[in-house]
């Protein structure tokens, strides 16, 4: 997928959207806080609104050009949207919702077998139901299936996880990625959550004040923003449960064992850990209350705002910690140093 947008749209107030970028890739993210113009961009790409002037091209095909007088209507663009709260048609069953776009698809574009998609998204049991009887996660799966069945040239996902509980997000991310990869659908994932962007995409456009202010990898963006972010850098740890011990759960993380208070009896789990919850020691600390002490090697340090990010290697796993500039200087933290990372058992937050 190659998307090029060079346009301008004003809203009669102080906010104007002005973009000039070109991006190519299969899993692209758009990151920005609320009001940065992300959703406007989505509606312009889908053809639901028109810019004041400019051009929009997808894979070399002109969707909009004020110069050439072209404005392709939404139904001719083959660009589907998965909205924040699913937006299923309430008067239709799950099956009718799924097939709504499929039935309107030109025969030469009907390349996705509904039965295969239903199986991938595990929708079999929901088919006959009314959409109002579905849970939030089920609704979003149906919305995703409905969009993918049209075999779109580009799938726009506009904050599709925002309305879901944290515990459901990872599950839906799994479905989103699996379905789009299996059926070869490129997507543009829009979110204000850097963590979601990191889990869903391999490159990202950062938006602020109606403009694209950067184009980078999600990992790089997360590191750059660590210093300003209220939650720091979020480490995502995939772990496997080993046992329960003295009220804590013990998980295997790579070659290490982690003590976690927010565990449960499921075998596999994913936890998030903020870079701010990791304390670094250059010498082995004694008699500490925190339950996790990991011996790590410093791979790299990077500045981020008024903080210094420290990339650590624990066995084969990577961990990002942050310290203030003064602490980094005092401890003389630099690449190849050996340090001890101390983490409280209660610092891990269950992600899925």
């Amino acid at each position: 997928m190659e998307l090029r947008m060079e346009l301008r749209k004003s809203f009669g107030g102080p906010f104007n959207l002005e973009t000039d970028f070109s991006v190519s890739g299969e899993q692209v993210g758009i990151f920005g806080v609320s009001g940065s113009g992300k959703s406007t961009l989505v509606s312009l790409i889908a053809g639901l609104s028109a810019p004041d002037a400019g051009e929009i091209y997808l894979d070399g095909d002109c969707f909009y050009s004020s110069r050439k007088g072209i404005h392709l209507p939404p139904q001719k663009r083959r660009v589907s949207i998965v909205f924040q709260d699913a937006c299923l048609f309430p008067h239709l069953s799950v099956e009718a919702n799924l097939l709504y776009g499929y039935k309107r698809c030109a025969p030469q574009h009907r390349k996705i077998d509904p039965a295969a998609l239903i199986s991938v998204l595990k929708l079999d049991e929901l088919l006959g139901r009314g959409v109002n009887k579905l849970s939030g996660g089920e609704k979003q799966r149906v919305a995703l299936g409905r969009a993918i069945l049209t075999n779109p040239r580009l799938l726009l996902m506009d904050e599709p996880l925002s309305a879901l509980d944290d515990s459901l997000k990872l599950q839906i991310i799994h479905y989103l990625k699996r379905a789009s990869e299996k059926f070869g659908i490129p997507y543009l994932f829009i979110s204000h959550s850097l963590l979601e962007i990191r889990l869903m995409t391999d490159q990202v456009l950062a938006m602020a004040g109606g403009r694209v202010v950067g184009q980078t990898t999600p990992e790089q963006l997360a590191r750059e923003r660590m210093g300003q972010s209220q939650v720091g850098y979020i480490n995502v740890l995939q772990v496997e449960k080993l046992r329960k011990m003295g009220g804590l759960y013990v998980y295997r993380w790579g070659m290490e064992e982690l003590f976690v208070s927010a565990g449960d009896d499921q075998g596999m789990a994913v936890f998030e850990l903020s870079s701010r919850d990791i304390i670094l020691f250059t010498k082995h600390p004694e008699a500490i209350s925190a339950r996790n002490l990991l011996k790590c090697t410093v791979v790299d340090t990077f500045p981020s705002g008024n903080k210094v990010g420290v990339e650590l290697k624990c066995g084969h796993e990577t961990l990002i910690a942050e310290v203030v500039v003064q602490a980094a200087d005092d401890l003389a933290i630099q690449a190849r140093n050996e340090v001890y990372a101390v983490i409280k058992a209660s610092s891990f937050r269950r992600l899925g």
Binding site: A46, L48, H91, Y100
Partner: protein
């Protein structure tokens, strides 16, 4: 004897069940559709509801008609007025529905200049005296009216026919119809329409597959209101259609005739009872449809 006790006596006691037989009646709380499949109990008792239903089925129609004839004095012209009222109200509602839907759609989903002006124009019949509306229609459709050059070559005559009553009812009831449909349309999430468009539906397709079905509640409510309003339409109708028994005389016009002639009170009251019965029926149908739609959603 008043009407209600007479009716009750026919319903409950006709088929040989005298007052004494109530002693072996068991109370019953079953819904009517289940009762239809219920056999009489072997101990000789009958369900009360089943017995009432039995009586309903075997009721002496002639006797009921006799009671109605005694209590409701309805002449042939009155029956004509009832038939005409229902015909006019139905035609006005059906005629207005497509226009009302289209107007509501335009006002809800299309942005254009002069919207406020159009709004005022369409809602004018709500605030204007119906007589004024009737007079304006007369000026437009009369023999030397504004539209006469268009209608005369086609041989169309509307004034002082039942069609004029339909037109009068349609114009006066239109704002009520539109308001209800718009209320229904306003509740449609705009993103559903956007989703439909991005899923490959053009504007007309979205209109018929998303907007129309999701406006059902408003359409039902608007149609009921308009039908009921049309049944009661008087001022505009009398001006533009006249008051000719059997031709353009609807229930309100007939009541007006009776009340203005000596000794017509009983006949007027009878027609009032009919008007109330029809209105109650319309409201009941409206309630049932609304509940059914709500259940389905």
């Amino acid at each position: 004897m008043s009407l209600l006790p007479q009716l009750l006596s026919i319903l409950c006691l006709k088929s040989g069940a005298d007052a004494g037989s109530f002693s072996n009646i068991a109370p019953c709380h079953l819904p009517l559709d289940k009762l239809r499949r219920t056999k009489p109990r072997s101990d000789g008792q009958f369900h009360l509801c089943r017995m009432v239903e039995w009586n309903l089925l075997t009721v002496n129609i002639q006797q009921l008609k006799g009671v109605l004839d005694n209590m409701l004095i309805l002449t042939g012209a009155d029956y004509d007025a009832i038939r005409l009222s229902i015909k006019v109200a139905s035609a006005a509602t059906l005629l207005s529905l497509p226009f009302g839907f289209a107007y509501a759609y335009v006002m809800t989903f299309v942005r254009f200049r002069g919207k406020v002006l159009l709004e005022v124009l369409v809602n004018l019949p709500l605030t204007l005296p119906p007589v004024v509306m009737g007079y304006l229609l007369l000026l437009a459709l009369g023999k030397n009216g504004w539209l006469a050059p268009l209608l005369e070559p086609l041989g169309v005559r509307i004034i002082f026919t039942w069609k004029a009553a339909v037109l009068a009812s349609a114009v006066v009831g239109f704002p009520l119809l539109v308001r209800s449909i718009r209320l229904g349309m306003d509740t449609i999430d705009g993103r559903l329409i956007q989703a439909s468009r991005t899923l490959g539906a053009g504007r007309p397709d979205t209109l018929f597959t998303i907007i129309l079905p999701l406006s059902r509640g408003g359409i039902v409510a608007g149609s009921s209101l308009m039908f009921a309003r049309s049944l009661g339409e008087f001022g505009a109708t009398i001006i533009v259609a006249g008051n000719m028994p059997g031709v353009t005389q609807t229930i309100p016009l007939a009541i007006y005739d009776y009340t203005s002639s000596p000794g017509g009170d009983r006949a007027a009251l009878s027609l009032c009872a009919v008007a109330i019965a029809i209105s109650v029926l319309v409201l009941l149908v409206h309630e049932m449809l609304t509940r059914k739609l709500a259940r389905r959603d």
